[in-house]
């Protein structure tokens, strides 16, 4: 490991495996379409409820329906992309339980990349499609001037958010090296993080804000960049550059999680059965 040429050939192989897995999935076309549709409908139901709430109440912490829809879209796009990238990583608990993880350790390729392509699925494209739709509706309806700089930075923010959510799913995998039953708790940070990212951060209590800003920087991926995109004031009073730390926060978070993965691999003992 470590050699640039090695890593490049690893990625080449990984991409080929990913393509094969996708082709396998496409063989069951109706099943595939059904999953995407189901994925779409679940979140569509939530949007109906959100819209109903705005019919009964004036606004949400000073944000309009259009602005909250934009935030929903942004968070959904990041989450669905991160979830898609980390799909295989989410099968690590299963691999460990069945004793199949050992196999990845003896192959001449990073075990993380092998886990990543263990399962490749586009089922979250339903959510991605909906996220993009909401993002588009939000962008078209908010009263904001869209500039090239904003659009470029939005791309950076989405990539950062993708990395953050993929890293969160990796934490689930890391924990599964020690415990399999308790990993449901990580859902509070993955799905919970994505849900929380869909609302203006300042409506939450201090403990939650601290957790989802400084421990798991979801707030730096969705809320703070949106203050810049939508020209909103910051009631929390962070420095003026806070909307622009998304990529830095993502890099730091991924670095720490990467260290955790290496540590877990080093201490891994097979189930032995």
């Amino acid at each position: 490991m470590g050699n640039i040429a090695d890593i490049r050939s690893d990625i080449g192989i990984a991409l080929r495996i990913a393509a094969l897995r996708l082709r396998g999935q496409m063989q069951y076309r109706s099943s595939f379409l059904m999953q995407i549709f189901g994925n779409f409908i679940v979140n569509f139901a939530e949007i109906i409820v959100l819209w109903s709430l705005f019919q009964n109440f004036e606004d949400l912490g000073g944000w309009t329906l259009e602005e909250v829809i934009f935030l929903h879209g942004l968070s959904m796009v990041m989450f669905s992309l991160g979830d898609t990238v980390a799909n295989g990583v989410q099968t690590v608990p299963e691999l460990i339980r069945d004793g199949n993880f050992d196999r990845t350790l003896v192959r001449p390729m990073s075990s993380y990349i092998q886990a990543m392509v263990n399962e490749v699925s586009l089922r979250h494209f339903g959510l991605l499609g909906q996220g993009l739709l909401l993002l588009g509706i939000g962008m078209a309806t908010v009263s904001t001037e869209w500039t090239v700089a904003k659009l470029l930075y939005m791309t950076v923010v989405i990539v950062s958010g993708l990395a953050l959510f993929a890293a969160l799913f990796t934490i689930e995998a890391i924990l599964s090296f020690w415990t399999v039953n308790s990993i449901e708790a990580v859902n509070a940070f993955t799905y919970g993080g994505s849900d929380l990212g869909q609302y203006p951060l300042h409506i939450f209590r201090q403990g939650m804000r601290f957790l989802f800003l400084w421990v798991i920087p979801v707030g730096f991926m969705t809320y703070y960049p949106s203050l810049y995109f939508l020209d909103k004031p910051d009631p929390l009073g962070l420095p003026a550059f806070a909307p622009f730390v998304a990529p830095v926060a993502a890099v730091i978070f991924c670095f720490v999680v990467g260290k955790g993965w290496t540590f877990a691999i080093r201490h891994y003992r097979s189930t032995g059965s």
Binding site: Y28, S31, M34, N39, A45, N181, A188, Y199, F204
Partner: protein, 263 residues
């Protein structure tokens, strides 16, 4: 009868075994409860005064959020596809030969599971809510007792709905689309995401008449005093009767089809 009680007891114990999972689940329900309650608090704040919105005061809505998070596992709102999997693997053929009633077999097991989930997931989650937020207590002991009865009936309604959704496995091979649709319908029409009173008019009227309401909304209404006790419990009872009959009819139809398929 003894057989079914034994089945319920086993399912109860089986569910209690996973302590780590229960702790993790309470944590997750707690975080989601705090998040959703905060969103509603912010909505009510924008409303200015402490007035009720569509007949729901702020404290009532917050209490509903925590009752919902606590009941989530007890009524197994989203997932349970064991019957479908049985149909697909073909195991159902041997299960139908066994000397018990298939529907009652699963109902007993589900009841045991629900009781365990109520104790290890529901009660602690509700306590978190009571500590962190201002939650209303039931008006009287009669309301509190009726609430428990209403939860038990909600489990039966939910079971019937889930059982029927599972039977779709007789007709379609891939249940994942149905599972997602079932979850979406349950989320909105049961009142899991928000009180049904907040929905726009045609949808609200329809939702109030459907059995999904009996799974989440009715226990809340009984607890909070939104409906007379007899009305809430009567609504659930009515749907239990209709759903048990429908589930059995659907099962009989599906079985006939299974025989044809199995040759």
């Amino acid at each position: 009868m003894r057989l079914y009680l034994e089945l319920a007891r086993r399912a109860f114990q089986q569910t209690l075994t996973y302590r780590g999972a229960a702790l993790a689940g309470i944590f997750t329900n707690g975080i989601f409860g705090i998040m959703i309650a905060s969103v509603f608090l912010a909505f009510y704040q924008s409303h200015g005064s402490g007035d009720a919105v569509q007949g729901w005061t702020r404290d009532q809505t917050i209490t509903l959020v925590w009752i919902n998070q606590s009941l989530l596992m007890t009524v197994y709102l989203w997932g349970w596809w064991e019957v479908t999997r049985n149909i697909q693997s073909g195991a159902i053929v041997t299960e139908l030969l066994k000397p018990y009633d298939y529907f009652t077999y699963w109902l007993s097991r589900d009841f045991g599971r629900a009781l365990a989930h109520f104790l290890v997931r529901g009660v602690p989650t509700f306590l978190i809510g009571a500590i962190v937020f201002d939650i209303l207590a039931p008006e009287s002991w009669l309301r509190a007792a009726s609430f428990l009865l209403s939860v038990a009936m909600a489990v039966i309604v939910s079971f019937c709905l889930r059982f029927m959704a599972n039977l779709a496995g007789f007709w379609v091979l891939d249940y994942r689309g149905i599972a997602a649709m079932f979850a979406a319908i349950m989320n909105v029409l049961s009142g899991m995401l928000a009180p049904l009173a907040f929905l726009p008019d045609p949808l609200r009227i329809v939702a109030n008449a459907l059995p999904f309401r009996a799974v989440i909304m009715t226990p809340n209404e009984v607890y909070l005093g939104q409906v007379p006790i007899w009305e809430g419990l009567g609504f659930q009872m009515l749907w239990i009767v209709i759903l048990i009959v429908s589930a059995r009819l659907l099962m009989a139809t599906g079985e006939r089809r299974l025989v044809v398929q199995g040759g």
